[in-house]
Point group: C2
Chain length 428, copies 2
């Protein structure tokens, strides 16, 4: 903590400690808040965001101006820039979270014991959540609303370059909390750009931070994973695979391949590697690659594929572990489902993989032997999304295996406890 | 890692790295092993333990002799010492785990989407588990069997003083794995007493260790929690509370209080603090304390309780945060269920709390507002046990809130993945 040893660092240490204490103090009132009260707060937040459009746009204009002056990249500026439509979408997103079923208090399981004890496992809030994100100011609203719905206080640490925008949005969230009579400290925004703030969060704020959710690029997620002293819901990259089995319907394979790669190339569920069963190299490989090519996709092919499809670049070892997030796909022939499984278990980031096949045995083997969060049969990898799963908004897609895996929605932001009802039972 | 810089430390670093690689290599064959094969292996382990009685007792005799020479405490020696009955119990425990339902592949939830996608959430193994424990050699069998049942490779690091006993038991487990044709590296025992081995496990064996389960005293658990770079299923102490509400049936209160404290004083579910509603100080307090007293319990009472019950020691602030694990209980008057909740939320270790009451509203408030893993109504805190919950054997009671909470049995040693079945769906 070198940064903490300079003046601003020291101020930041004290500031973050205070945020942690206030968040912890908000945990109990939030945990016992009724579903209606939380819903009211979220609806009030959505209204406040709509009413606050001018203020939010004015604050965003400052961030955009600063960003242009400091020469931020075009894609970064695109994520940063807000407009009336994006603000309406943000409000709609919060309203949709308000209408989700409240997870807290839900009985997940219950059973009776021979001695008459009745046992219930019920959902509870998880605790104080820290969200560390980058340019998108709308994460302020999404993450704040999701954590509140699950009864968790949240400390939001947005990107320095979008702090004005995030602060204006955060003010609307606090307005909603106030309107519903919930503690304003339930959703706090780190008010400084001092990077020491992140270091303090990674250290856990003296036990006042229970889990950290990093939302951003690989470097951010890896720093958080390496340095965090508290649990992390990590979303590493999505190196998603599409495997076309010899039993695949060719038309379906073409349609799914183009959608999985090209519908949106910048999302984590976009396919990055195409694996084709060597048994159908003669029939399926070229039509699929041709369709991708015509959709504007660049092909990075291994030697065998290059022989069959010249309009491609030779793939290097790096291609198999690269998340392009762009109109590029790596392509390779494999020996059936066993070869596909071998390649995927070697190179996958365990996010999402899909198989196109009519052979049920091949599908079951693919489903059983691949250890990724999401496996799809005869469907596009781009369905890897909490909303598409019917789970509502998500704070990310977890690629780890602890607590949350796949889409992290309100349910994944809860824990549970056991309630045991007896009639005087003592243990023999 | 000072220890790692000396010779033995360097050997240990290489040794532990190799254990990690072998465990990871065993993960896939284990994850796809059939339920029958795992069951066969566990039954073969139980048989091998019974057949190996003489060898195990001979190895244990060496540990016992060394322990006596190095003057280990009586309670430590009691946990270390094996006899034919304890060995039979160990084999029975493994056999009971063999007969549990196999969690891997179980469909936890499934639903259909409007677009026709069918989504299943299915249990998967969690990954490579590290178990760090102290004197009890039987943990070698319990933990090894539980991890195998859930399809997880395990690295067992037993106490130095019981290494010979653990090695003899471990040999029987490996015999069972071999008999069933499962990889012998599925259950590995750290073969050195070099404490650097623990440091290596806490660092995660280069990503080859997914979760650590510490089983032992507070100092061990705290070291693991503070230093581990991987998730931990921590079992901190059980500072369990028994609250007697003004609506309590006196006879039931007396019976439950004596059982919760005195049935077994050394287990984590034993009550350590008695809270009595001030409204029934005149009727319920003395009979309950008298019954505890007659059962041989020492009372540490706050000032008010002392006035009503002289045969007690004055409680200090330390009493409210002490897990006695002994025939001692702290006692305090509180203002109804609100006062009980306030005290428990302030001092509890969030393990297990019980309320004796006939007033349903008081019970619901106790259940809703206390954030502990297990809450009981009109039942003894000593039911806080995976077996008593019908969950089978457990590797501990988790006092954290991430992933596992309360009894950690086979189900809690699993993760999950999503299987999505389509008919050619692409995302619009």
């Amino acid at each position: 903590m070198l940064m903490a040893s300079d003046k601003s660092g020291q101020d930041t240490v004290a500031l973050m400690a205070a945020l942690g204490r206030k968040a912890r103090a908000a945990a109990r009132p939030l945990a016992v808040a009724s579903a209606d009260r939380k819903r009211d707060a979220l609806l009030a937040m959505a209204d406040a965001i709509l009413r606050g459009e001018d203020k939010i746009l004015a604050a965003n204009a400052i961030d955009v101006k600063n960003g242009e002056q400091s020469g931020l990249s075009g894609s970064f500026m695109d994520r940063l820039k807000l407009d009336p439509k994006r603000i309406r979408d943000m409000a709609e997103g919060v309203r949709a979270i308000a209408e989700l079923r409240d997870p807290v208090g839900e009985v997940i399981a219950e059973w009776d014991r021979p001695n008459g004890l009745h046992i219930e496992r019920v959902r509870t809030p998880l605790g104080v959540i820290g969200v560390i994100y980058e340019s998108r100011p709308n994460v302020t609203a999404d993450a704040g609303a999701l954590c509140l719905k699950a009864g968790n206080p949240v400390i939001l640490r947005g990107g320095s370059d979008s702090l004005n925008s995030s602060a204006a949005i955060h003010a609307c969230l606090v307005e909603g909390l106030r309107a519903a009579g919930l503690p304003e400290d339930a959703i706090q925004l780190v008010p400084t750009t001092d990077r020491a703030a992140v270091g303090e969060m990674l250290k856990g704020l003296s036990g006042n931070l229970d889990v950290i959710v990093p939302r951003g690029g690989r470097s951010l997620v890896e720093r958080v994973q390496n340095e965090a002293r508290v649990p992390v819901f990590a979303h590493l990259e999505g190196i998603c695979h599409l495997y076309i089995d010899k039993s695949a319907d060719l038309g379906m394979a073409v349609k799914i391949a183009v959608n999985a790669k090209m519908r949106r190339t910048g999302i984590c569920g976009a396919a990055e590697t195409l694996l084709v069963d060597r048994a159908v190299a003669g029939t399926h490989l070229v039509p699929v690659l041709e369709a991708l090519r015509q959709a504007g996709c660049e092909i990075h092919a291994d030697e065998e594929v290059l022989k069959a499809f010249a309009d491609a670049k030779p793939a290097t070892d790096a291609d198999w572990v690269t998340e392009y997030l762009d109109a590029i796909i790596s392509a390779k022939l494999v020996d059936g489902v066993a070869g596909a499984i071998e390649h995927i278990e070697t190179y996958s980031s365990h996010h999402t993989e899909a198989i196109v096949a009519e052979d049920a045995a091949a599908v079951e083997r693919f489903f059983n032997e691949i250890d990724s969060a999401i496996l799809l049969h005869n469907a596009s990898t781009q369905f890897a999304d909490g909303g598409e799963f019917g789970m509502g908004a998500e704070i990310g897609i977890a690629t780890g295996k602890m607590h949350a895996r796949g889409p992290v929605g309100v349910e994944q932001l809860t824990s549970f406890k056991y309630r045991v009802r007896g009639t005087g039972q003592v243990r023999p």
